[in-house]
Each structure stands twice: as structure tokens, then as C-alpha cells.
Amino acid sequence: MTTLLNIDGLTKAYPGVVANDNVSFSIQPGEVHALLGENGAGKSTLVKMIYGLVKPDKGRMTLHGQPYEPAEPRAARAAGVAMVFQHFSLFDALNVAENIALGMEKPPAMRDLAARIREVSENYGLPLDPSRTVGDLSAGERQRVEIIRCLLQDPKLLIMDEPTSVLTPQEVEILFKTLRKLSAEGTAILYISHKLEEIRTLCDGATILRLGKVVDSCNPREKSASELAEMMVGTKLTPPSRPEAEPGEVVLEVTNLSVKSANPFGTSLKDISFTVREGEVLGIGGVAGNGQDELLSALSGETLAPNDAVRLRGESIGHMGPNPRRHIAVLTAPEERLGHAAAPDMSLIENALLTGAIRQGLVRNGFLNWPATRIFAESIIKQFDVRTPGAGNAARSLSGGNLQKFVIGREVLQKPEVLVVNQPTWGVDASAAAAIRQSILDLAENGTAVIVISQDLDELMEISDRFAALNEGRLSPPRPARGLTMEEIGLMMGGAHDMEVAHAEA
């Protein structure tokens, strides 16, 4: 059997960073090969080179033994390489069939294409209606569109970038069955992830990247998750810890909260109820796009709620905007760091003012106290180990992990009574993630009521006292996190929705 794809010495440098340094490995036909690495290890750059989006500075690739230098994605697709993106390459306002046609070289007439989509999607257990508008689909369904788009072109190599972050555990099971079926049919899969258990169950081989270099390769089935973690991160990480404590009084109470989404393709919140106590961490899981942004907006005051639906120690605060809520120490950190939690082109000093103006007393009679603001920004940088040349640097110049430490630190230092964080460690490297989780736990230990909204179930199990899941804008009743099984969590997240196991016969 000849090697399908051979990668030899690929190197790609960007100003100030070598994204890939002399990377080599190979994939056999039908192999499920994992590319394992932290955020920033260079996985994305590598697959972009394979898919023809980025040209390598050095090194070469062969496909079926022939030199392979895709000048553009079109050439890659023609050679039998297909890719499912992490941030979907879909068009909200177009329908499923149109989206799929855009990813094909010579799509058949729309009616034939629709029939083909139905056929293939049924066959692989990924049902899809070709005429639906993509913007109305759930995250899981959107991923199906991407997968079907690839499958319709009979790829020899399918690249999947973090595919399970948008799926419930049940849906992950089904996806894996589909992938195994594809692999049995001879399609190789390059599977990119930082989730170790998944890789151990699914993959035949693994290449581990750290800081742009291949540091190791192995058969993941023969390694334990902690061995894989050590290879990926380079050091042993201590999981966050905190002493056991009894939660105190109820601080925040949300009752029958229903809010219509401002975004035409967003998810409206439906009848959400929960409470959080002093010193307690409530973890809210769920697949992205099930109302996480809307819930954060309703808690931050960016979207106003019915007054009685949100209460702080019995006082109704649903009608309060973001700044009145800051006055009473209800603080939030949104998911989108650049453009929501922070203004990309503004300095860290100005970004410190963005939410700190009220509680830190940085404004008097409308006039700004810049020296005090600088001191506040510098104390965030110092206490949360934000790596930057100085507080005068623009937010966009920071790495994801450092900016996230700044954003979380900015709220933590303001001594919140309630802190709501959405996706605290999304796209953040492991050491920064560990530091952020620890700071959240420390805050809870000091009596703050904390709500963590996250897609990362491992993270939620690690830090939450109680767990609830968002599914299509509804929140499951919170349950104690300890002792919950993946099965139970998956059902709280909505189970497998309408996916079904891939049909046995091809």
C-alpha cells in the first residue's frame, strides 16, 4: 500500500513567529490520523498548507507519490483533499444546496444536487434538507452541511478541524461511526483536536505539534490521556484546586427569563430559571449557538429583560443596563474577546476603562482620570501575568491567552458579587487556561457567585459545583456536577437531536 500523503520538512514563518518548523509526517490510505497540539502549536497553518490556502516557505508534499503543490483550495479539492473547517465556511443567507454547490468544482443542476444531498446524507446518518436556509440551522446541522459538501466529492483525504466542539456527546458518537465507515471505505482522515480521549478512541496514528515543531508521534491507543497531554503541553499541568466549602445565600436568581434574540439568525431564550449562591460555580454547557451569547447579554444588561426575571439578592435588576449592573457588582466577560470584551485597536489602558470606569472610580464629573486608569491596567497586567510590552499596547497585539487573562482579570479585580464568564478558555493555550480557571475558583472561594458558560465539558466538570445545559434557548434544571456521567450530560444537552447511526451498507 502506497502512502497517501507525505509531508516533508514544511516550514512557514510569519513575522515574529515560525508557525511551522520543518514538519514531516505521512498518512496512509484509510488511516485516521490525529494532529494533536495546543492552540498556537501550528495545526491550523499546517492544514491550510495542505488545503492550498497558504503556501509553505520551504518543504514539499507528495500525494499518491506525486508532487503535490496546491496553489489554491480548488486544486486541493481536485486532487481529492477536502476540509471541514472549525469556524464554518458557510453562508447564512444561502440555502443548504447553494452552500454545498459553492464548495464543489462542477456542481450538477440544483435539482439533481438536492437529490444527491438527500441520498448521501441519509446514507451517512446526517439528515439534511437541501432547501433550508443555513442561518436557521443548529451548529451540529451546519457541520453536517460541511461534511456532506466534502463527501459529495469522494475525497481521498478528509481534513477535520476540531469537529466535536459543536456536538453533544451522543452526536460525537454518531460522527465517529460515520468517520469509521469512511475510513473503512478507504478515505483517510486527518483529525485535528486537542481533546485527548477522542483521539484515543478514534485515531490510528498521531503526530504531536508543539510551538510549530513535530515533537513526537505515536499510536494514541497505546498511550494514556495524561501521557498524551504531557507530550502536547511539554510539562505536567496541575489541575485547578480549591478547598471544599458550603455555598452561602442565593445571590442571583433568574426566573422564567425569555428574551428574543436581536440577531435574525440568533437563538431566543425561552423560560430560563436558575439560582447561584455565594461561593458557588454554576457551569452552563451546551453546543455553541444554543443561546449562550443571548444569555450573557441578558445577564450583562446589554439586552434588557423583564424586570423581575433577573434578581440580585431579591432586588429586581432586569431593567438595568450594563453600567447600573456594574454599580451593584454584577460583572460579565463575553466570549468574543476582540470587538466585544475589548476594542481591538485601543490600548490596554483604554480597555481597562471600558468596564472599570464605574467601580474603580476612573471618571469624575464625566472627566477621565487617565493616571488612575493606567495604574488599574498595570495592576491587571501584573496580577494576572499578562505578557505584553506595556499597557499602552493595542489589545489586538496580544495573543488570545494573554488578552483573555486581561479580560478576566479586569473583572476579577473589581470584586464582583456575581461574575458571568462566557467561554473563558476558548482558543487559549493550556497554561493560560489553567491560570484562568484557578482565578475563577479563587474568586468563588472568596464568596463571589460565578456562572461559567462553556462548550468545554471537561472544563465545566473540573470547576463547577452544579451543571446545567443550554439547548435551543432552554436551560435544563441544574444538577450537582459531581457524579454526572457523559451520557447524562449529553442528554441534558439535547442528546443526538435527529442524527442517526450511519447505515451499515454503503
Partner: protein
Amino acid sequence: MLRLEKRPTPSRFWTAATPVLAVLLTMIAGGLLFMILGKDPFAAIRTIFWDPLFNEQFASYSRPQLLVKSGPLILIAIGLSLGFRAGIWNIGAEGQYIIGALCGAGVGLALYPMDAWFIFPLMVIAGALGGLLWAMIPALLKTHFRTNEILVSLLLVYVAEQLLASMALGLMRNPEGGGFPGSRNLQQYPSASNPELIAGTGMHWGIVAAFIAVIASYVLLNRHLLGFQIRLTGQSPRAARFAGVNPNALILFCLGTSGVLAGLAGLFEIAGPAGQVSIDFNQGYGFTAIIVAFLGRLNPIGILLAGLLMGLTYIGGDLAQFMLGLPAAAIQAFQGMLLFFLLGVDVLSNFRIRIGKTEAA
């Protein structure tokens, strides 16, 4: 091939240097344009940029003109810059300028021939209110119906021009003017005129107002929460919402302020240099001020300098028309070119230009 690479932090050097570079590029391109028109490019550039200030023959007349022309440009551009920073595009300052002038002049003409100290202040207030009123139309339509303020403010310029024509030919026509269009000359009505404050400088109340506006907007943008909110909204509307900014209040403030300043500019012009309500008293200051605002990088000090430069091109253009027979339109094209070059070289402040292989774009 050239390739653009985003800078992690905007370059301070290029932020300051791009307007200068743009002016130089415009001089070169403008020189070429004048050459095509059969004029000596060096003479033309010198006539436009040098002679009005330093040629002994003309300077005594044209130096005071510099303030007269620059004043309204600066005043309007300061107002526009606030909105432009917040991503609120008032491009109908010309209309607000006209309505401000009409309201102010209307008060003065209505009180003719009364002689009282309060007439001119009253006209100033009326001018400001007129500009405000005209700017509130796009503002309220935007806050209530999300109507595009660019189109509404611009279309209202045409409406304002028709109103001006109607006033100049009808209601405000000078009853003693022998049937000629145009109102009484306010300069000959001391209680209502905006006189030259220091003889031979061109300084009038409008210039004073422009300087005050420059200082006030500098303080607002750098020291005041509202200025911070304006900048934040322009850069990142979602972050602004998160920071508790009320977008509707900001729209009303930005459009309102620019309307007031444009209205004031109109009033000072009509009570001063222009003197009377006539069909074409407006000289397109409202549009040129857009160029001034960008050339000054939406920065108050920059706008002050840009306003002076642009005022110079007006005077220099007149001079070049008189001396070299350069058509007036050439200056208009020249000013448009300047804005193009400015926006084009602006890329340098946020991107590095690399020469090398291209990526698949």
C-alpha cells in the same frame, strides 16, 4: 508583488506622516493634471500654495482671506469629525449650513431696521437651532426607524438648496432691491452683521467659534467620557454597547453637534463675508469640510491645520484662475484627489507593506 501585513499596533509615525505624504502626492498628481491642461505645473502649484501668503502683490488681500475661508471649514469639520469617529456619517453638512444661515438671517431680516445689541446674538442662536433642526431629521429617523443617515442627510441638501432658492426669490427678497433676487445686505445693518473684528486679519466671530470648537473637541475626545464613548463606538460598536454606551443618545449627540456647528458656520458666513441671502451664497463648504475632517485625521489639531491648508487652496485656486486661467473646476478635482491620496496612503499606518511572494488571496 506587494503584500499587506497588519501591524499589531497602529504606527504613530505613519499616522502623523500620511497627511503630509498625501499632500505631496496630490501636488505631483495635480501638477500633472495642470500640465495636461497646458499650464506650467510649477507655476500653478506656486500660485496656489505660495503666492496667496507670500507674494507681495497679493498677500495683503489674500492673507486675511485665509481665515475667512478656513473658519467655516474648520467649524464644520470639527462637528463632522465627532460623528465620523463614531461611525455616524453626516454628509449633509451643506444642508445644515444653508438652513442655519437662513434661520439666522431670517431673524435679522425680520427685525430690520430695529437697532439693538441682542439682535446678532439672537441670530447666532437661531443659526445654531436651524442647523440642529436640519441635522435632527436624519438623527431621529435613524434612531427611530434605523434609516440610513448618509442618504437622508445628503438628500436633505437638495431640499435645503430649494428652500434657499425659494427664500432668496421670495420671502427674504429685498423689498428695495428693485426685483433682483437676494435679501438685504446684512453687512449694511450693523445690529445684524458679523464684522471683521481686527482690521486686516479676516478675523470674525465665526473664526473665534472655530477656535473654541477645536479646543472643546480636543478636550472632549481626550479627557471626557463622552469622547471615549465616541471613539469606542466607532472602533467597536459591540464593545461600546458592553461598556454601557447608549447608541441612540450618541447618534443624537454627534449629528446634533455637527448640525449646530454647520448652522453656526452658515450664520457667520451670511452675516459676514457673504452678506446676503442669495441663491448661490453657499460655496460647497459643507462638502469640502468632509475632506478637511479626513485630512486632519479626525483629530482637532489636525483639522485646524487641514482647514488652513484647504482654505489656502480656495484662495490659491481663485488666484490661479485669475493669473493663469486655470479653471475653477481644476481646484475641485484637486481637492477630491487629495482625499483619495489621503485614504490610499492611510494603509501605511495600519499595515506594513512587504515585497515578496503573494499568498493565495
